[in-house]
């Protein structure tokens, strides 16, 4: 199992958000995690990436057999975990190309691989740019600064394409995207699908799943996975709404 989460409980500022979450993600699988606002979807994504401010009070998170909880965000990244942010952060004054190169080389260095020189890097980034239909001009600008919503999301997918993670977590990547951008972003994700790479799609809407076909769909409500199924579950949710599950949530 690539990712194994058992009975995960976590709180923010003393408030319990995750209340015993279980999730198993195998290599090559695409899992969609759906759920109403405030159910803990983004918290889960951030905890997996190692963000400060969350206290894990119980349970375990194993990534390829290794516990993630004690690892720094950069250590998780170099082991192959990637989070595409719902709200990508603007970094004024930090050149996008420079940032991408620093990120790739930092990961390579951490894994004991040789760093890429500027020429090799530019060649590589040009290939990846084409994959996500991103304007080359955006490489010369500060990271995300003044980017449109769609450009920011493309920049996330560009980073994912460049860093080639083993587990990509996409946090509401579809939010705020028009249909063209959604399609480009989805194409980028689909291009990366492979037997040894897994994806967790965190989303509120079923729409993204028309473009990226999940192997499994989970519903997160009240800090737990309350139901799991195949992509049919997403359709059912679309038809009936999350209210349909709330009764079961109480019962579970």
């Amino acid at each position: 199992m690539m990712l194994s989460i058992k009975n995960l409980k976590a709180e923010v500022e003393g408030k319990e958000i995750l209340k015993g979450l279980d999730l198993q993600v195998g290599a090559g699988e695409v899992h969609a995690i759906m759920g109403p606002n405030g159910s803990g979807k983004s918290t889960l994504a951030h905890i997996l990436a190692g963000r400060d401010g969350y206290a894990v009070t119980a349970g375990e998170v194993l990534f390829n057999g290794e516990s993630l909880i004690e690892l720094a965000p950069e250590e998780r990244a170099s082991r192959g975990i990637f989070l595409a942010f719902q709200y990508p952060v603007e970094l004024p004054g930090v050149n996008n190309t420079h940032f991408l190169k620093e990120a790739l080389n930092a990961q390579r260095k951490a894994r004991g691989e040789p760093e890429l020189d500027s020429v090799a890097f530019l060649k590589l980034i040009r290939e990846k740019l084409a994959m996500v239909s991103m304007q080359p001009e955006l490489l010369k600008r500060p990271v995300n600064a003044g980017f449109s919503g769609g450009e920011k999301k493309r920049n996330e997918i560009l980073q994912m394409a460049l860093l080639e993670p083993k587990l990509a977590i996409l946090d509401e990547t579809d939010s705020g995207l028009d249909i063209d951008a959604l399609k480009t972003v989805s194409d980028g994700v689909n291009a990366l699908r492979s037997p040894d790479r897994s994806v967790i799609l965190v989303t509120h809407y079923q729409r993204l799943l028309d473009y990226i076909q999940p192997d499994f769909v989970h519903v997160l409500a009240g800090g737990k996975i309350v139901r799991s199924g195949d992509k049919g579950l997403a359709k059912e949710l679309e038809a009936k709404g999350y209210g349909w599950l709330s009764g079961q949530d109480e019962a579970a």
Partner: protein
């Protein structure tokens, strides 16, 4: 004897010792005697600043009691070869480069492109031939002795670049003025004095750098006069990269003619103690001044900028953006003062000071002031003091960039807005590298 008399004696001691050593005579510099006399009188009349004076309230001067500075009044210091200062050179050295070592021109290290029509490059001590009358007359025409150090500079001025562009003259590439200080057995104090005069419609780019070779203790006390004629333009890029034990004081005084454009980019990165006084006076309508600066105060560094912009005539624009980065026990002082006189209607001025604190133990004292006597103006100021944004740090770390490297990237990004104002790419690159290196040393 109270302490004031004692310390006054110290600066006067420097003056007397310097004058005694100088007395052996440089006959071709008699034209400077009026300036020197004015300086001497100023030193005698002015006390060493103390905390009772607003402009020095936050500037510690205790270091003056720690070392007995020996005035360096003899040049040239010709022991250095180009290979010795390789690390201090820009990656693409400008075709015109005037190198001063311990305050005096080092001819062997200079590079002089072929003469451009209307451009005169000279040196105060005569190392580039006799100083033309046009420059002699302009020396000391602008300088005010706002403090005793400026007076001391006038009295003991060592050497410096004298640059004159005739009306309409244009220089394509930059002129670089490079100071190299070599630590001596006893800490030295030198008094570089530069003069840049652009007549009407002239245009030039000047790079002015102060470097230390090794990590000696010394005191650079510089004064720079800049005079811009109507419709002229000067890109003035200054970088203070002194040794970590050095004291550096620069007093830059600028007078702007009608419709002239002055762009100053200052990177004050080095030194244990650094103070930059910048005084810009608008003397003709329609002129523009863009003044940007980056102050680094790493652990045990003190970095001070005092800015006075005087809008004395109507329809002038000024933009002032100064940023501080502080770490460890570093201290930044920023005093930005914009004065808009009664006649200066339609003045447009925006003053900003932003500070990035990397450690709680650092300290910043910032005081932006607008003093406005006209009634139809557009003026504003803003100040921020903040820490690194945790969201930005997490974003970088989530991409695999280790924490210390992420902090560095963000600091460089913060400084980049200022460095981007440097027209010279090699200088811009050097500023970025130097900042990274100093941040690393400080961490």
């Amino acid at each position: 004897m109270n302490s004031d008399t004692q310390t006054q004696h110290d600066l006067q001691g420097i003056l007397h010792l310097g004058q005694k050593r100088m007395a052996t005579g440089m006959p071709d510099t008699d034209w400077q005697s009026v300036t020197r006399q004015r300086g001497t009188a100023g030193v005698a009349a002015m006390a060493r600043p103390d905390r009772k004076q607003e402009a020095w309230r936050y500037t510690p001067l205790g270091f003056l009691d720690q070392a007995e500075y020996q005035p360096i009044v003899e040049g040239p210091f010709d022991a250095l070869q180009l290979s010795d200062i390789e690390d201090l050179m820009l990656a693409e050295p400008p075709a015109i480069r005037l190198v001063f070592v311990n305050g005096y021109l080092a001819s062997g290290l200079c590079s002089m492109a072929k003469a451009t029509s209307g451009v005169v490059l000279s040196s105060l001590a005569g190392g580039l031939g006799e100083v033309p009358a046009a420059l002699r007359q302009q020396l000391d025409a602008i300088a005010e002795h706002n403090h005793v150090f400026a007076a001391l500079n006038s009295a003991l001025m060592s050497d410096g670049a004298l640059i004159h562009l005739a009306a309409g003259a244009r220089l394509d590439g930059p002129i670089e003025i490079l100071h190299v200080s070599v630590g001596l057995e006893q800490p030295g104090i030198c008094h570089p004095r530069h003069l840049i005069v652009l007549e009407d419609g002239a245009r030039a780019e000047v790079i002015e750098r102060y470097c230390g070779l090794g990590d000696g203790t010394y005191f650079t006390n510089a004064l720079i006069e800049v005079s811009l004629g109507s419709d002229s333009e000067l890109l003035h890029q200054r970088m203070q990269e002194e040794s970590v034990h050095a004291q550096h004081l620069s007093d830059l005084q600028v007078r702007l003619g009608a419709r002239s454009r002055y762009q100053l980019t200052l990177a004050a990165l080095g030194g244990a103690w650094s103070r930059n006084d910048v005084r810009v006076t608008f003397g003709g309508e329609g002129a523009t001044a863009q003044l940007d600066g980056l102050m680094l105060a790493g652990d045990r560094q003190f970095n001070d900028v005092h800015l006075v912009v005087r809008h004395e005539v109507p329809n002038c624009t000024s933009r002032e953006t100064f940023k501080g980065i502080l770490d460890g026990s570093g201290r930044v002082v920023f005093d930005g003062h914009i004065v808009v006189s009664r006649d200066a209607q339609k003045t447009d001025a925006v003053l900003s000071n932003r500070n990035l604190m990397l450690a709680r133990s650092a300290e910043v004292d910032t005081k932006p002031q607008l003093e406005i006597y006209a009634d139809d103006v557009k003026c504003s100021h803003g100040t921020t003091v903040g820490e690194l944004d945790p969201d930005m740090l997490f974003y970088l770390r989530s991409r695999g960039i280790p924490e210390h490297q992420a902090k560095q990237l963000l600091c460089q990004g913060f400084a980049q807005e200022v460095f981007d104002g440097m027209a010279n790419p090699a200088l811009r690159a050097r500023a970025g590298k130097l900042l990274a290196a100093r941040l690393l040393e400080s961490a």
